[in-house]
Amino acid sequence: MTAVLPVLILATSLVPALLIFWLPERAWRARAWLNLGGAAVKILLVVFLMVEVANGVTHEARLDLAPGLYLLLRVDALTLLFVSLSAFLWLMTTIYAIAYLGDGPNLSRFFGFFSLCVAATTGLALAGTLITFFIFFELLTLTTWPLVVHKEDAKSVKAGRLYLAYSLPGSAALLVAIIWLESATGPVIFAEPGDLRVLSDASLMAIFALFALGVGVKAALFPLHGWLPEAMAAPAPVSALLHAVAVVKAGAFGIVRLIYDVFGIALTAELGVGLPLALLAAFTILWGSLRALQQTEVKKRLAFSTVSQVSYIILGAALAGPYAVIGGLVHLVHQGLMKITLFFCAGLYDERAGITRIDQLDGIGRRMPMTSICFTIGAMGMIGIPPVAGFVSKFYLGLGGLQAGEPWVVGVLAASALLNAGYFLPMLYRIWFGVAPADAPQADERSLGMLVPAVATAAASLAAGLFAGAAISPLAWASLIAAGYLP
C-alpha cells in the first residue's frame, strides 16, 4: 500500500495547470509540452495501476483536514475505469484544442483551467470518501465555468450563468445529503460501507433523493438538463470534454458510487429507490432523443443526444442486475469515446467548412472524407449498430433489464434506437448522398492536430466494440468491477 501513486496521478494534471497559469500568452510550445507531458505520464501511471489493481494491490493517500474530515484518494477498479477514459481523452482533446484555438486570446487561462478541470475529474474518480467526492465535484463546477465563458461573448456568459444557476443549488442539495448522512453515521468511506440503518427509511429515501438531485444536475437528468444545450456556446474542445468525460460523466459516476458504494445494492432495493430512478432515466433517454430530433444545429442535436445517452449509464446502475451494471459501466466509456468523436467532427465541420446547421451538411462527405467517416462511426455507435461500441452497451443493458424483471427496458432501448436512427441517419444521408450547393464555402481537412484525435477516438470506439471480448477491453474491465459489487 503506497500513498505516492494516487497523489502522483492527480499531480499529472494539477501541476501542469498551476504552471500554465503563469506562462506568457506566447509560450505555445511550453504550454503544449506541459499538457502533453502530463497526459502522457498519466497514461503510463494508469496502465501501471491497472496491473496493480488487477493483482489486488491497494493504493491510497490521506490528508486530514479536521477530526472526521479528511481527503482520501483510493485507487479501485471503478476509479480506473473513469481515470483511464479521462486520461486518454484528455490527451486527445489537448492535441485537438491546441490546433483548434491556434493563437487566440487568453490561452494560458484556457489551458490552465482545462488541466484543472481534468485534475478535478481525476480527483473525483479517486475519491475514497463521500466528502472527498463532494470536494472534487465542486472543484469541477468551479473550474469548468471559466471554460464555458472562455469566448467572453454574450452567449457564453449567459451559458455560464445558467450552468452555475443549475450547478450550485445542486451542490447545495448534495452537501445537505452528505452531512445529513454523515452526522448520523460518521464519515462515509466507499471501501468500508457503514451501517446506514441508524437512519429511518424516510430519512434514507430523502437523502437518496437529495443526492440524486445533486449529481443529477451534472448528469443532465430530466428535468435538470436545461444548462447542457446552452453550454454549447463554449469552444468545441470544451464541449467535447464536458460531454464525454468531465461534467456529465461526473454526474453519472456519482450515481454509480451512490448506489454501489454508499447505499449498496441491497439497501437500494430494500428502500425501493432504484426503480423510480430507472424510470426517470428511461424518460430522460426518450425525452433527450425527442428533443434532439427537433434541433437544426449540429452541436445542439449532439447536446440533446448526450442528455439521452448519459441516462443509459444511470439506467444500468439503477436496475442493479448483473448485466445491467456491466452495460451501464461500459457505456460510461463507450459513450465517452463515441461522443467525443462526434464533437471533434462537429468542430472540424465548423472550423474547416463553416458548417453549424444540419442542412449545410449536404455533400460534405466527399469534401471532408476522413472527418465524415469518423462522424459516421460515432453516429452508428450511438444508434447501436454493431460492431461499434454502442451496440455492446445496449445489448448488455437490454439483457440486464430482462434479468432484473423489467422488460419495459427493452422497449425503451428499442424506441431510443429508432429515435437515434431518426436523428442521425438523415445527417449521414446528407453527408454522403446530399449534393453540395454550388455556393458552398471552401472546405478542407488541413488541420492534422484536429483530425488525428478524431480518427483516434473513432478507431477506439470501433475497437472497443470489435474486441469487446478481449481481456483488456472496457467490457472486460466493467465486468471485473461488476463482479466486485454483486453478491
Binding site: 490528508l63 477530526p67 472526521g68 466528502i131 470536494i135 454574450a154 456568459v157 455560464g160
Partner: protein, 493 residues
C-alpha cells in the same frame, strides 16, 4: 523571552505609531517593517504555544488582580497570527495609495500612525484577559478605525464616520458599564479570576450589557447600519483592515466572555437570540448585497452577512457530541470562519481597490472585461469569493462543514438551512461582479495600468484563505490549545 514575545506585538505597533508621527517621512517604511516584524513574532509565539501550551505573563511581575496579565492560548495566538498576516500585506498594499499623496496631505500623513494604532488595539484585544484592558483595546481600535474612514475628508465618508462613531460610542458605554458592574460585584476584572468565582445576577446583568456593546461593535443585525457606508467609503487598504480585522476583536471578546468566563450564565433564550440575530444578518446582509450596484458596497454588505455566521456558534457549540469526533466543531469552526473571512475579505477589498484605480470608479459596470486586463487581481477576487461562498477547498468550506455537521448532528436543522441558504445567496451576489469581469462586450477601452506586483498582494491573501482549507488539520489542533470546556460541551448543560 516569552514575556517579550507576548508584549512586543502590543508594544511595537504603539511605538512605531509614535515614531511615525515624529518621523513622518519614514512612516511608510516603518509601518511595513513593523507589520512583518510582528508577523514574525506572532508565528514564533504560535510555535511556543504549540510546544508548551498556553502562555501567561504578568507585566512587571504584578499578578492579577493588581497587574496587567497577557495570555496567549490557541485562540488568541491564532487570531494574532492571521491578523498580522493580513496587516503585513495590507500595509505593503497601502504603499502606492498613500505614498503618492505626499507627506503634506492629511491622508498621506495620518494613515500610517492610525493603521499602527489599530494594529496595537487588535493585538491587545487578542491577548488580554482583563475587562478594562479589553475596553482600552477596543477604544484604541474603534477610534483609529473611525479616523481611517474619514481620512480622505470626503463628505460621504465623514458622514459615515460620524454614524460609525455614534454606534461605537454606544457600544463602548455599554461595555464599560458592564465592566464596572462586574468590578463592583467581584472586585476584579480578570477573566481567569472571574471564571473561578460563583457568579450571580450582577454578573448576568454585566454580561448582558457587555454582550450588547460588543454586538454593536461587531455590527450584528440590527446594529449593522453603520458598517456598509463606513467600510465602503474608506480607501481600499483601510476598508480591508476595517472589514477583515476590526469586528473580529469584539467577536473574540464575546467568545471569551461566554465560553471562558461564564458559560453557566447562558440560557436557551440567549442562545436563540444571538443565533437568531446572526441568522437574520446572514440572510438580510446577503439580500442587501445582491441589491447593490457598487462593488465596495457589495463587499461591505457581504461582511454583515459573514459576521452573522459567527454568531451561530452560540446555539451550535457542543452540537455534535456522542459518536462524532468533532465535539468542539462549532466553536473551532467559528474561528476558522473568522480566519477565512479575514484573509478573503482583505483580499477582496484590496482587489476592489485595484479595480477602482484602473477604472476610475467602483460601479459594477466598470468591471466589464477586466479578466483580460487584470487577470491576477480577478483571479484573487475569484479565489476569495470561493472561500466566502464556503465552497471547497477553502477555509470557508471547512468552517461551513463543521458548523453544518454540528447543526445536523444535534438536530438543529434550522441553523443548517441558514448556512446553506447563505452560501447560495453569497454565490449570487459575488457572481455578478465575476460575471462582468468575463464579459468583454462593452468593456472600457482605456484603463489606468496597475503593476503586476500590486495584483499579487490580494492573490497572496486569497491563496492563504484557500490553503487554510487544504491544511486545516494543524490550525484545528492549534485552536484546541487552552480551549475552554464549554467549547466542547456547549453553553447549556
Amino acid at each position: 523571552m516569552t514575556t517579550l514575545l507576548l508584549s512586543l506585538p502590543v508594544a511595537l505597533p504603539l511605538l512605531a505609531a509614535l515614531l511615525a508621527v515624529a518621523a513622518s517621512r519614514q512612516a511608510a517604511g516603518l509601518a511595513m517593517a513593523t507589520g512583518f516584524l510582528v508577523l514574525g513574532l506572532s508565528v514564533w509565539l504560535a510555535f511556543e504555544v504549540a510546544a508548551a501550551g498556553p502562555i501567561t505573563i504578568a507585566l512587571g511581575g504584578w499578578e492579577a488582580p493588581l497587574g496587567i496579565v497577557l495570555r496567549a492560548d490557541g485562540l488568541g495566538a491564532g487570531f494574532l497570527v492571521v491578523s498580522a498576516m493580513v496587516m503585513a500585506v495590507v500595509l505593503v498594499a497601502a504603499q502606492p495609495s498613500f505614498e503618492d499623496q505626499g507627506q503634506e496631505s492629511r491622508a498621506g500623513f495620518a494613515f500610517w500612525p492610525l493603521a499602527l494604532l489599530l494594529f496595537a488595539g487588535l493585538n491587545t484585544a487578542f491577548l488580554s484577559r482583563d475587562l478594562f484592558n479589553l475596553f482600552v483595546a477596543l477604544e484604541l481600535l474603534t477610534l483609529s478605525a473611525i479616523a481611517l474612514v474619514a481620512i480622505e475628508g470626503k463628505a460621504g465618508s465623514v458622514t459615515a464616520a460620524l454614524r460609525y462613531m455614534v454606534f461605537a460610542l454606544l457600544g463602548s458605554v455599554l461595555f464599560l458599564l458592564g465592566a464596572a458592574l462586574a468590578y463592583a460585584a467581584h472586585a476584579t476584572l480578570d477573566i481567569g479570576l472571574l471564571a473561578q468565582v460563583e457568579l450571580g445576577w450582577p454578573m448576568a446583568a454585566a454580561l448582558a450589557l457587555m454582550t450588547m456593546g460588543l454586538a454593536i461593535k461587531t455590527a450584528l443585525f440590527p446594529f449593522h447600519a453603520w458598517l456598509p457606508p463606513a467600510h465602503a467609503g474608506a480607501p481600499a487598504p483601510a476598508s480591508a483592515m476595517l472589514s477583515a480585522l476590526v469586528p473580529k476583536a469584539s467577536f473574540v471578546i464575546l467568545l471569551r466572555l461566554w465560553f471562558d468566563l461564564a458559560p453557566e450564565l447562558a440560557s436557551p433564550l440567549l442562545l436563540a437570540v444571538l443565533g437568531g440575530l446572526g441568522a437574520v444578518a446572514v440572510i438580510h446582509g446577503s439580500l442587501l448585497a445582491i441589491g447593490q450596484d457598487r462593488l465596495k458596497l457589495i463587499i461591505a454588505y457581504s461582511t454583515v452577512a459573514q459576521l452573522g455566521y459567527l454568531f451561530l456558534v452560540f446555539p451550535l457549540a457542543g452540537g455534535a457530541g456522542g459518536a462524532q469526533p468533532w465535539s468542539a466543531g462549532a466553536w473551532t469552526a467559528a474561528s476558522f470562519h473568522a480566519f477565512a473571512h479575514m484573509l478573503a475579505k482583505a483580499a477582496m477589498f484590496l482587489a476592489a481597490g485595484l479595480f477602482l484605480r484602473a477604472v476610475g470608479h467602483d460601479r459594477l459596470e466598470g468591471l466589464r472585461g477586466l479578466a483580460r486586463a487584470m487577470p491576477i487581481a480577478c483571479f484573487a477576487f475569484g479565489l476569495s469569493a470561493i472561500s466566502l461562498m464556503g465552497l471547497p477547498l477553502s477555509g470557508g468550506f471547512t468552517a461551513k462543514y463543521l458548523l453544518l455537521t454540528s447543526a445536523f448532528a444535534s438536530g438543529q436543522w434550522g441553523w443548517g438551512l441558514v448556512l446553506v441558504a447563505g452560501g447560495l445567496l453569497a454565490a449570487i451576489y459575488l457572481f455578478r461582479p465575476l460575471n462582468l469581469m468575463f464579459s468583454k462586450e462593452g468593456a472600457a477601452a482605456s484603463l489606468t495600468p496597475v503593476p503586476r506586483w500590486e495584483q499579487v498582494l490580494p492573490l497572496l491573501l486569497a491563496l492563504a484563505a484557500v490553503l487554510l482549507g487544504l491544511f486545516s488539520a494543524g490550525p484545528f489542533a492549534f485552536l484546541q490549545i487552552g480551549r475552554p470546556g464549554a467549547a466542547a460541551e456547549g453553553l447549556l448543560p
